[in-house]
Amino acid sequence: MTASNRMIKFAAHALLLAGACAMILPFVWMVLTSLKTVSESTSMNPFVFFPADFQWVNYAKVLRQNDFLQLYWNTFAMMALRVFCSLLFSAMAAYAFARLKFPGRDFFFGLVLFQMMVPTQIFIIPQYLMVDAMGMRNTIFALLFPGLVSAFGTFLLRQFFMGLPKELEEAAKLDGCNIGQTFVRVMLPLARSGLVALGIFTALFAYKDLMWPMIVNTNADAATLSSALAKIQGAYSVHYPELMSASILAIWPMLLIYIAFQKQFIEGIATSGGKL
């Protein structure tokens, strides 16, 4: 390796390392602050980087004042139901759009594309009025509601189905499978990586959503992790160690899942995000 090549490599690492520190630093600071006393967190002279004793009591206090088990459940239930519905309905529609010929197909697919071009806020007031009229505010169903079907998922999986070879379906047809059987037994298993990608994408954005849960589930015990944090910030105002404890309690499950399945995450986002 030449000297100039080594220099370039060194510079690349230096640059990437600096960037990586900037990405991590807020999380490190979150953890450190969450374990400090209030006076440690606001001490400027000397500035305190590491807490003298880990103040786990901050977490205990946040957990006592907020029902995090309920929040985890609400968030998990919303994510799971949104993933289930979007995968099921999108896969069905996507297969029909990709492979079957029927009157109205292009028109209906046009509706799917149209939905994807419109900013989502335009749906929110009417969706809220519907949930309200059904008397379903402050329920898990309300959290699921906008994610019952997914135009984006339909579009994504249609791309996927179109990329699969046709021979297998023809073989299934010769074996006497009807269209439904071909879809379930042959096509769905082949689309597995597309389904995984859509599932990760749906779960992640459901978890991050703030406005909808804040609007539709105003009761503390019906909130999601995101919308509960918005409330907690108002309640604790300047008690930063406790605010940081609450933040950590809200982000650790997703971080852990991400670290464990990072390959699937990144590939899922690359395939689904790339088609958005």
């Binding site: 990586a20 029927f102 900013p119 991400y258 958005l276």
Partner: protein, 294 residues
């Protein structure tokens, strides 16, 4: 089309849930939002009064709406080019033969998997005027403290930094996927010609990754135009920087759900729709000038 009732009925059956859902959840709501934008909402949702173009007239005269348009565009102009440029550089570096590639990739993507509400809280704490880590570090190198979250002149910059930080990993992943599709022989051929790495970047990489670039640009702009979470978590209505930071979606939220004027909120969201459509049409036109499809 030959009549094939079996295939037709399967097709209709399979798309039925999605199409019914889309009609109820999306298509009809678009019309409802448009309809609502011609009404003034009475108290407690009762007594909607038809006001014709009243909400739109009020909106065009409302300095806060005009501020919000400016703020939203400013946020977009600050976040989109910088985040795309940084993500591109990171992706190109990671696309080479470098040790620890996957570790870097994992780290840069982390902000993407954290809830914006949590992330903004810690940034707010980092930005804290008296006790924040950022001001402490500025002071250490002899610079004065900055009132990041309350000074109307810098608050938008502080918000944009969070926006850039959050989205770099996402764009990087998309660019990496685009870069991997460039055939390796292009680089080998130009290596033989003795082209430098920098020249290769501008002559090979950039033109060939331009379809991905176009896609990322369009989606980033649309995302940025809908900014809400970070500003909502950082700037409350009483903040002196509110007028200089409130975005269109934040204003939509406040009017629709805080002040319960859903008619006015609907008018604001129609304005957002119009702005996004104009930008998208403009981009699609400009696309022909700089995007190379292989």
């Amino acid at each position: 089309m030959k009549k094939n009732w079996n295939e037709w009925s399967w097709g209709w059956f399979l798309i039925a849930p999605t199409i019914i859902g889309l009609m109820v959840l999306n298509i009809i709501p678009i019309m409802q939002s448009l309809y609502l934008s011609f009404f003034k909402s009475g108290d407690f949702g009762r007594g909607n009064v038809y006001v014709g173009a009243g909400n739109y007239e009020r909106m065009l005269a409302d300095s806060q709406v005009m501020h919000a348009v400016g703020n939203t565009l400013l946020y977009t102009i600050l976040v989109v080019p910088v985040s795309i440029a940084i993500a591109m550089v990171v992706a190109v570096l990671l696309n080479g033969k470098l040790g620890g590639k996957t570790v870097y990739r994992t780290i840069y993507f982390i902000p993407m998997v954290a809830a914006p509400a949590a992330v903004t809280m810690v940034w707010r704490w980092l930005y804290n005027t008296q006790f924040g880590l950022i001001n402490y570090m500025l002071n250490q190198v002899g610079l004065p403290s900055v009132d990041w979250t309350n000074n109307p002149k810098v608050a938008m910059l502080a918000i944009a930094i969070i926006g850039i930080w959050s989205v770099i990993g996402y764009n990087m992943v998309l660019f990496l996927a685009g870069l991997q599709e460039i055939p390796k022989d292009f680089y080998e051929a130009s290596d033989i010609d003795g082209a430098s790495k920098f020249r290769q970047f501008f002559v090979i990489t950039l033109p060939l990754v331009s379809p991905t670039m176009f896609f990322v640009l369009v989606t980033s702009i649309i995302q940025a135009m809908q900014v809400f979470d970070v500003i909502y978590m950082m700037i409350d209505v009483t903040n002196p920087a509110y007028d200089r930071t409130v975005s269109l979606v934040y204003l939509f939220y406040n009017n629709s759900f805080k002040y319960s004027d859903k008619g006015y909120g609907s008018a604001i969201v129609m304005l957002l729709l119009a702005i996004i459509l104009i930008i998208t049409v403009f981009q699609t036109r400009a696309q022909k000038k700089w995007v190379n499809y292989m």
